[in-house]
Amino acid sequence: MGRTVRHLFVAGCVLLWLIPLYLLVVNALTPATEYAGKPEWTFQGFAFLDNLDTAWNVAGIGDSFQSSLLYAVVCGLVAVLVAAMAAFAVVVLPIPRPAFWFWLIYSGTLFPLQMFLAPLFGMYADANLYDTRIGLMLVYTAWAVPFAFFLIRNHMTTMPPELTEAALIDGASFPRIFWRIHVPLMKAGLGAAFIFQFTAVWNDLLLGITLSRSPDVQPVMAALTTLNNAYSSAGPPVILAGALIVSAPTLVLFLVFRGLFLRGVTASAR
């Protein structure tokens, strides 16, 4: 590739990728009342906080934001803990048929979510879990476990077995070996798994719109969709402000923990 062509190509791509982001920011800042019905290309003032206020309070993104934060943090943590314990059992402990357990737990990621939805809906309706926070947390945790398990298991197989043996000879119990040796040594892997599952739960739309309805239970992506459906009444600046704020947590996580984040992604496919 010639140097000039190469530079032009990269510049063109950067421009193509930046324009939508630029439009997102500019129009999220435009005062909703001054929005003229078509996209603005220059800054029309700073009304981001007003737009955000409308989206946050009137459209209920605020409640959902808090719910989603709860779901993503709690389910991410529980899933990583449960998955680490299962990985410990499959990799370190003498469980019979480790391959069977592996595929049993891992099978949860192989199928599209659609395959679980209808029966889950029925089960939730019967168990009075439909449209409850605890119900969503249960399914998010279950959904996050298989992949976290896969990441952590891969990481755990790289630990030298001598560590476990030495601890056993010193008379350490399983919980002690797990908490004092494996968990501290696998901090990076556990962190990558947590960030990955936090993002997955935060970004979920399908489970949210299927298993919940009330504004204080619905996850944030479902709330954003509701806001978007009311396009004409709320106005694009409000919706885009909403889109910006729901992207903030994952964007910050990504920018701060880029290394861990990408390790989580690349490990997914190794």
Partner: protein, 326 residues
Amino acid sequence: MTGTTTPAPGAAKPTHVRRGVPVRTPHQAAKAGGGRLGGPLAALPWALPAFAFVGVLLVYPFFRSVYGSFFEENGFTSSFTGLDNYTRLADDPIFGRSLLNTLMWVAGTLLLPVLAGLLIAVATHRMRFGGIAQLVIVLPFAISGAATAVLWNFMLTSEGAVNQVLRGVGLDSWAQPWLLEWPQNTLSMIVASTWQATGLNVVLFAIGLRAIPRETVEAAELDGASGWRMFRYVTLPQLRAVTVVVVGMAIVNSLKAFDMIWILTKGGPARSSETLALSMYRETFRLFHVGYGSAIALVLSVIVVASSWMYLRRQMPDVSGTAAQS
């Protein structure tokens, strides 16, 4: 995600380890550690929570869904109809369109983000400010599918930014309601999804490029390779491992595409832009054809599993060999 892993080779078979023989496999090593680990059941409590979550909330519903696909069910009554739901699929024009759209998604999200990702990664490799360019392109990956869809909705509506630009540069005849007619609604959404997904591929390819040993490139240069020949015969083969990963993920993710379509068109107008993932949702939760929806979900599952399995078996013989055994 495409799961491609090997449970420790031979782990499925009972292993006989004599005491004192050095062993490398972790759980064999634990066995060799003597009777300290207790019986084989001592490990079960550690696996049980994961098994409970996955078993009750994923595996059981999966089989329930398979079972349900043989019934005509509307949420209140259900009757056994055998394979009727599946024969109905064959005659349903919406299912045909949906299948076609799904194929378009797979083809589109394979070609565009993978090719663009490869090109951009190669172009920015060892370039000044290349890292910044990569960061800009990867940013959309960090925002959710739903937020991306909302943004592109804003761009693609009739009075949206895309038409504004086209009219602005005098291409009035190109301006059109992007989301209201098939096939450009599906194609537009594929472009939007490319905008979001390419960044990840750029990063993955960049990691692959950095892993190519300098000596390989220098040796090729000594032999007179440069430009296209260098790319075709040196760079590309070295990127094979990354490409397998990128393509494998693209297949699975494109088949499952939901957020983007649900927010941009809801599968419409007149269900013209539905994919299998959307059709299942609409049949089950909007039209209450629960059994029929389950049948669509099963078709989709079979396609997802079969395509990723076939692809990986061809690309990574060693991995699937073990996977098939266990």
